[in-house]
Subunit: 152 residues, 2 copies
DNA sequence: AAGTTAATTAATAATCATTATAGTATATTT
DNA sequence: AAATATACTATAATGATTATTAATTAACTT
């Protein structure tokens, strides 16, 4: 199977950054890793592990779930992703590291992003107040999404 | 087993409120429910389901884990508790409904509360900005706690 | 191009939190 | 005190995640 035939220039900025980070830390650049990362970036709905698996499998039919779990942990460790375990304990993955709020539907579990000046200012102020170093943050709000509200 | 022998006057304000709310909604007042709620109120460390189980079991040796789960869901539904699912997907329970931030140690998992004018203002502003009705919120910050930092 | 090392796959099995089931016990009402 | 509806307990089932192998494959180095 010839896998890494794409011209380097065809990679997105994000993918190039991933490649660079993998090389830097001595991890191998594999097509599965790139595809998994690209799929999460393309999917703005904070997909679950299984959703990612299903999607990327279309491109790589032999992809195993083990590889997906392993890759997601790796990408989380090198801080390209954040793992979210909000609703029912099922992991979802977040590629957006900028300060924002995740609005979570209590009915269907869908997550959408909410950004505002308010969030940014709040975090800036908070950093000043706290003496300890921030490793990460997660702000979430629970509600019923519009789609679910229409159904009742 | 004679269980509900305590004089009503020995109940705390919080417990009295729980009793009232249960009666109001047609749920039965059971010693397990009171004990579980009291234990969460007494424990300021956002205990896990199993921690609550272990603790309350000392008082009621026949207590089942199923009852703990069921009770916690009930108390969450009547809005006396909030379920937190932070890091590892394990549920923790939060009796404090006032706006605050949970500071979570990435090393030992301990959760401490943080309150400030900044947090309050942020939430007030957020409510104005959002059109949808808020069912709940959870703001968390990841860091390494002082205790763990000293150890290295 | 060949050698080395790490990654992927596959096939199970184990773990662990949570949920479902069904029989027994108990709180509340009469 | 008896009736009845709910709650409790014990046990089993579920389901996502992790662990363990070992064999194959592919990325990287020289
Ligand atoms: Mn998000
Ligand atoms: Mn708290
Ligand atoms: Zn929804
Ligand atoms: Zn700690």
């Amino acid at each position: 199977m010839i896998l890494l035939t794409r011209n380097i220039t065809s990679y997105s900025m994000d993918t190039k950054k991933l490649i660079e980070m993998l090389r830097e830390k001595g991890f191998k650049v594999t097509p599965q890793r790139l595809a998994i990362y690209e799929k999460i970036l393309a999917n703005k709905e904070h997909p679950t592990v299984d959703q990612i698996y299903q999607e990327v499998q279309k491109k790589f039919p032999t992809l195993s779930l083990t590889t997906v779990y392993h890759t997601l942990h790796l990408l989380t460790k090198i801080e390209l992703l954040q793992e979210l375990r909000c609703n029912n304990g099922v992991s979802r993955y977040e590629p957006d590291k900028t300060p924002h709020i995740n609005i979570i539907c209590q009915n269907c579990g869908a997550i959408s992003d909410y950004q505002s000046k308010n969030v940014e200012n709040f975090l800036l102020q908070l950093k000043k107040e706290l003496k300890t170093k921030l490793l990460g943050n997660h702000f979430e709000i629970q509600t019923i999404c519009e789609k679910c509200r229409k159904q009742g």
